[in-house]
Every structure is written in C-alpha cells, then in structure tokens.
Subunit: 389 residues, 2 copies
C-alpha cells in the first residue's frame, strides 16, 4: 500500500422510510432550504410530496431550483448560486443522483463568496467556506452522496471538470432503496456500468499488497454481475435495489482505494467525449472501458487483468496464458454490459471518425498525459477512440 | 439488510512516517496535551522520543499519564480525569492499543464534567461534552482508533462495561505499521484472534441480503488466516503488519455491519470471565469463541457456519451435510488459533470448575439474556464455560 489519509464525515442514513430522519437532520442548519432537483420525476413518483411533508414538520421555508440536467452545466450552477444569495439560503437539499448532487456541491462553495464558481472549480481561487448540504438519493450510480467530488461542464469552453473540496462533503445522505424503484431500465443499466467502472478505475493500480481492497472490489463487482440482470427484470426488487445502492456508495466513498490511487484514464477520456457530444456519462464509459483495457493490456501487466477475470468472471485459467485469461475477462465484461443493454460503440451516439481529432484535442488540452496505471497521451486517446467507433 | 446509520468522522492517517502529521493535527486543538500510554514499551522502541520530537515542533506543553493497564481500570481513568482538571488539559493523545485508547475515551468525557465518569459509562448520566482526543496506534488489534467504543473495568463492583458515545470518536488516528514491529509474538497472535473475533461477532446475524458485507468479512478473515503464521515468524514484515493494521480498523469501524447487528455473545461472556479473573481479553476470546459456535450451531442455523467454512477455511462441501461442513469450519478455526499459539482452555489461566458459578452469575447480572444470533441465558453461559475448561 501507499500511505493514505481517509476522512469521510458524511452521515449515511440508509433504508426504507428513512426520510423520517430529514427534519431532525436539517433543523440544526437553519430554516431556509434550497431544494435542488432535476427534470421533475420526483413530482411523479411521490418523493417530492413526501419531502415537502417532512420539511413542513419543521416549518422550513423552501425555495425550489429544478431542471438540473445530466452532466450539470456551469450556467445552471451560476443561476443557483445567484438564487442562494438573493434568497439568503441556509441549507441545500439535493434530491436526485450524481448530477444534482454534483451541482449542489458547486452551488455550496459558490454561494459563500463573490468569486465566480468556475474559478473555484478550476482552482484559480480556493473555497474558504460552503453552505451545508444534504442529499436524498433517487438514483444509485455516482456515489456522490458520500464523497466530496463533483463534475461540472462549462459549455462556453467545452470543458468537463472533476474537482473536490474538503467543504463539499454532504452533512448527511438519505438512501431509501424504494426511491429508486421508478428509475427507468436504461438508467438502471447505466447505474450498474457506472458503479462497476468506479470499482474498475480503482482496481487498476500498481501498489503492492492490497488483498483486502481487492477483495472488496471483487465482491462489489461480483454482486453487480450476479444481480444486475435480475434487477432489470424486476425493478421493484428491494434486495437488488438495496445492494446496488450500497455498492454505489462503497465504490466511491474512498474505502476501496485506501492505500493506492486508481487509474481514471477512462473517466478522463469520457469527459473529453461528452464535452464535445452531450452523451450519457455511463454510456460513454460502457463504450470506452473495455477498449481502454485492451489498449493498455500487455505482457508486462497481465496480473490484475487475469485476477479480475478469474475472481469476478470465473474465467478458467487452466491451460491458458495469463494474457489469454486477461483477454477473456475483458471480453466477459463487454459481454455483460452488452447483455444489460448498454452501448458498445461511439457510433451508437452518432459520433464518427470526423469527431476523433476534436475529442483527442479536448483530452490533450485537459491533460496532456493521463492515467495512473499506464500513462496515456493524445495518440493513445485516438487509438482508444477509433477502436470504440 | 436492516435500516442503518453510518457516521464515522475519524480521520485515519495511515503509513510509514505518518507521525509527521501529528503537529498539524494537534495544533488546532490547543497547546496543553495529556500523553496517555501503557507500560512504557514506547520508551524502549523509540516511539516516545519520536512523538516528543513532533510535539516539540509546536511547543506543546506535554503532561504524561503512563501505566494504563490491559483491561483498563475505572480507578486509573478517574486518576487521569483528575489530572486533566488539575492541569487544564486541551487535548488527549493516546499512544498504544485498545486499552490506552479505551481509557482515553473515558477520560475525555470525564474531564468535562463534575459527574463521576462511571455514571457516564453506565449511562446514569449522559455526557454532553468531551476533550478532543487523537491516537497513535502501537498494537493492531482492538480497532478502537476508528470508533467511539470503549471497555472499562470497575474492580470495586467487578464489572467490565462496553459503552460508546458520539463524543468519543478520535479526531484523528495515526497508524504506522512499523510502530507494531516490536509487538511481542504472543500479543501479535492475540491481535489476530481479536480482529478475527470482531469480524466473526459481526458475521453471525439473521439479516437477509448482505452479500457485500459478507464478502468483506470473509476477505479480512482469509487474509489473517493466510498471513498470520508468516507474520509471527517475520514480525518486521511491513506488508503483513500493514494489512493486519488495516484489518483491525475495518473490523471495528462500523463498515462491516452496515445493515445488521452482530451477535457479540462471546464478548459479553468473556467480559464476565475477565471481570472475575484478569486474563487477556483475546486469550478469553480464543478459548470461548469456538465453544460458543458449537453451542449455538443446530440444524436450523447451519447456513452461515457452512458459508464461513467453505469460503474462509476452504472446507469441501462435497458429500457432506451442511451441519458437518459447519462443524468442520469450527474445528478449522480452533486449529488455526492453536497453530498461532493462543490458549484453548480456561484452565490454561488457572480457571477451574470452582469459578463457573461466579462467572455465570456475573454474566447473568450484566445481561440476563445476551447474544443476537441466538439468545443465551445463565444456563447457556454455564454450558459454554464448562465446555471451555
């Protein structure tokens, strides 16, 4: 292991009917709440009404900010920051998945300063304070509910930036698996890909002696491979929704990568793709990840690929070289993601050879070299992108 | 899973030379530090000098309180509380393993009130404040460095009480595996038993749908079974010390039992034993745990025992009943703990048939019924104790 610091102060409140904890949790922070949410599905599935009822119990004064989009935009964040200042908001309540929570984290640091929030995100200036924020999770996927990370897209400069601050840990996150029952099939499949990709980004590292972290990674991956297809057929299965929700949290709360840093090249490359074409993040990840794996796999680094193949996908190693075992594992991952109906090719989103150079430029502009397991350059980006067409 | 709340704000600072973080971590809390430690081994192995050097960098005014014993005593805690009040201490720095850290947690709540600390431990009164506390771990075992729990023994009433408070999470814990190099062979073996027992106490529950938690439990157990004997032969092996230190933390930081409560009957019974005879905690646990397992195992609850046997001890289930697989697993656990040289019988500590009734009385006085996986009574205590003679 490498040296590490782990400090995650988020209070996780997990299970059926845990929304009842909301009034008690919020009341320590103030009366005036900005409720942030997305496209309005929470008004159809009853979650909005249930939240308003709980907020009513403490006579919270609630201001609404809806319409936060997937791949949340800087322009949206800026509007919400202005709203916080106008309305003198005490507390941010983010209801949704990664996009809404990521946006809320940016709003939190933007609302307490006159500095433009993009300067904070890009680290030109450092945040020194933030509005407190709580989350109510309605999609198990990003795991943003139990970390300080956020991704915001600036469409003026076509930049998608991942960032974090010690000020942006949610104070609490309420995770009721029943709140994810109405997540559509495609979004559920994207959630499975997203969680697996977070685990896989961590799994590829060169630190020695990580048997316990490996075991946790493999346990989460195996569970998703085992239960994912069943969940897609039975979306109101409490047990499947519950483990998926827990897996999403564990994949991104910092526990998995105690003692090493993961690769994250595929996330960087996907950010370049979706900064040019506004495609679903997990769709991009599903397309790119197996191709990143095939691109970086070589005779010198087969070990972790082979371990993944054997332990997660139960590839038999009998009579096979490590390289062949590794390759079989990658093919199994692709087959699994195909089986749950996520896209395999960039062309599924209308991305063509004509877009390759622009995406590679974007990738190189954000980071000339990227990836920790294997350092990649613009030329590598192009090769992975073309293999993904 | 059952509903749960997880909230663990401890900052874990892990790895070689991480003591360098100490001045920065302490300086936010004040200048006057009470350094708590045990029998003085830290003066022999250089850890004391290294700490004093770091404290010197921030001109901390350090008061020492040494001699905290294994199974820390209420009388010792009371002395340290008085010392805090006399010296107007700002911060507690606990250097040691579970005993020193457990004592420091009690001192922390006792130092901020005129209420006697035993009334706080026994919940006659509620703590409302605590001195901040940090830890430097020198024994990987109890995992007290990343939770709010503590066990204190009152020798006036012969009661050993486990307790916790939201005020007693350490602010930070520094875990340098090299600080455990000089832990004697017997203490290292006890640490392995202690960590395994914490995992096993969690493992036996009746909640459904805990595949990820099971996987993490099994991963930790497998790692200790695999590396424990090697570590005992090679006590300065950094990798073995490092995973053991991480396993100790993960076994007790609340992650393992997200979504259920473990059994903890064996710990309750061991507390009754060591309230009468001051034996090493892990020695008592090593003796009692397999006998608890055999006592509660019956045809209706073989599943978790059999899962343990197959997944951790690689017992073949071919041609065997679940009950026989379960039993084979229990025997393997006993054999493993024997192999690392921990005691098998209460008589190894001079405990005889003459002590049985007194220990059973103590157990029944503390809790007339105990254990969550299977409810036990005084009669069960006697049977497990006699099987352990």
């Amino acid at each position: 292991m490498d040296n590490f610091t782990f400090h995650n102060p988020v209070k996780l409140i997990f299970g059926k009917d845990q929304l009842a904890a909301l009034p008690g949790e919020i009341s320590t922070y103030g009366k005036k709440v900005l409720l942030l949410y997305g496209g309005g599905s929470i008004k159809k599935n009853g979650i909005y009404d249930a939240i308003m009822e709980e907020l009513g119990k403490i006579n919270a004064e609630t201001v609404e900010f809806s319409g936060i989009e997937p791949n949340p935009k800087l322009s949206t964040v800026r509007q919400a920051v202005d709203r916080c200042k106008q309305e003198k908001i005490d507390f941010l309540l983010a209801v949704g998945g990664g996009s809404v929570i990521d946006a809320a984290k940016a709003v939190a640091i933007g609302a307490k300063t006159d500095t433009d929030v993009w300067d904070l995100i890009t680290k030109k200036e450092r945040p020194t304070d933030a509005l407190p924020c709580g989350t109510i999770v309605t999609i198990a996927s990003a795991g943003s509910e139990m970390n300080a990370s956020s991704v915001i897209t600036n469409w003026e400069t076509k930049e998608k930036r991942g960032w974090a601050s010690s000020f942006t840990y949610p104070k609490f996150s309420i995770l009721d698996p029943t709140f994810t029952y109405s997540v559509p099939r495609e979004q559920t499949a994207f959630g499975i890909v997203d969680i697996m990709a977070h685990v896989l980004e961590n799994y590829f590292h060169h630190a020695s002696n990580t048997p316990v972290q490996d075991g946790l990674c493999e346990t989460i991956l195996k569970d998703l491979v085992k239960t994912g297809p069943g969940l897609l057929h039975d979306p109101e299965n409490y047990q499947y929704r519950e483990t998926m929700m827990l897996n999403a949290v564990l994949a991104r709360n910092g526990m998995l990568n105690m003692g090493y840093k993961g690769d994250w090249a595929t996330h960087d490359l996907e950010h370049a793709v979706s900064a040019i074409h506004d495609i679903p993040h997990a769709g991009g990840i599903a397309i790119l990840f197996p191709n990143w794996m095939k691109h970086v796999l070589d005779e010198t680094n087969t070990e972790r690929f082979a371990q993944l193949a054997v332990r997660v996908f139960e590839v038999s190693s009998e009579g096979k070289s490590d390289y062949d075992v590794a390759l079989a594992g990658i093919n199994q991952l692709r087959a699994f993601w195909n089986r749950i109906g996520t896209p395999e090719k960039l062309s599924d989103y209308g991305i063509t050879e004509n877009d390759m150079e622009a995406i590679a430029d974007k990738s190189a502009a954000a980071k000339p070299e990227y990836g920790k397991f294997k350092k990649l350059t613009r030329q590598d980006s192009l090769r992975i992108l073309r293999a993904s067409l």
